[in-house]
Symmetry: C2
Subunit: 200 residues, 2 copies
């Protein structure tokens, strides 16, 4: 184990190099936040060329997702959401996210992430930066309103609460309701947060 994490072990193959990059990424994201961390800085810490980090992970978003074992790649979710008709954005978000969580692996990763956020202020700060920039920023790109970030935060509040009630607390009958029924029940909430009047 200690040999594998040593400098020689790291270079032994792709998996060792990848692990070194992810370790450096976790350190940089923790120290500088999501916005402050750069691929250049992470590459320097890992002792590799920035081009190799780009080659392995593409974008900072994907590197964060891999390093933090984040359960979804927000921009991939966004592609599906953008492809939906404007008046169906709400149910599409609910259906897509719940669909992703149906997999036990992604569910475990989400639970691990929630656990870090509630027990560790540093993890919460890191998650806050990522959620704000990557998730909220991209949802905000879909919504042409000037209060887009507020709307995106409201969407996040309902989606996180739905995951919490369904998977962490396991409140019945919500925990065993089908994704389609939940898309019908919760979709209009999310739709209103994205496009509706929030002041009435």
């Amino acid at each position: 184990m200690s040999a594998a994490s040593g400098r020689t072990g790291r270079r032994a193959g792709d998996s060792g190099t990848r692990e070194a990059i992810l370790e450096a990424a976790r350190g940089r994201f923790a120290d500088h936040g999501y916005d402050g961390a750069t691929i250049r800085g992470i590459a320097a810490d890992a002792g590799v060329d920035p081009a190799l980090v780009h080659h392995f992970y593409g974008t900072k978003e994907r590197l964060f997702v891999a390093a933090m074992r984040f359960p979804v790649v927000p921009s991939e979710i966004l592609e599906r959401v953008v492809a939906a008709e404007p008046e169906r954005i709400g149910e599409t978000i609910v259906r897509t996210v719940l669909g992703v969580w149906e997999g036990p692996d992604t569910r475990d990763q989400t639970l691990a992430l929630l656990r870090s956020a509630v027990t560790n202020e540093r993890a919460a700060a890191m998650l806050r930066g990522f959620v704000t920039t990557a998730i909220l920023g991209t949802i905000a790109g879909v919504v042409p309103a000037e209060d887009a970030e507020y709307r995106a935060a409201l969407v996040a509040s309902q989606i996180v609460g739905l995951g919490f009630a369904r998977f962490v607390i396991g409140i019945e009958p919500l925990a065993s309701t089908s994704v389609e029924d939940l898309a019908a029940a919760v979709g209009p909430t999310v739709q209103r947060y994205v496009t509706g009047d929030l002041r009435s």
Copy 2:
């Protein structure tokens, strides 16, 4: 410390007796769940008369609230909600719960509770029993629909998510939005979950 938790220390005064009752309550709620635990059983474990437990705490709900440092007494919230006009139940729930969380003490207690739920399966099970019976059961009493428990669980998902986004992750601008603005934005969601059509 060890003298105070011994049998003699417990009987030395009210506070020692109360602590013995709360300790017995935590054990019984953990072993038997919220529904399975009885005041009689808790009194037996604490070596006191059940009448004394009733004298100190009134109901099992209040005993649970005290033992688990639960941030609110659900039936007190319910009183305010029931007093609201039917079409204002949603915003009243949002305003009341957010108002309670404005106090730093109750906020810390809520965070501690969320922490236990995500890190400890036993705590999650205990919380599930309490939420289902006390909170959902009482909200269900307000809603005359046959799918009342489903509606109550949806309400819980939005309220928990709102607390999570506002206080744990601290997503802006939601974290610094006024209670009144959030009551206007989120109230209609909760209202629809309580009285609206969930299948469209």
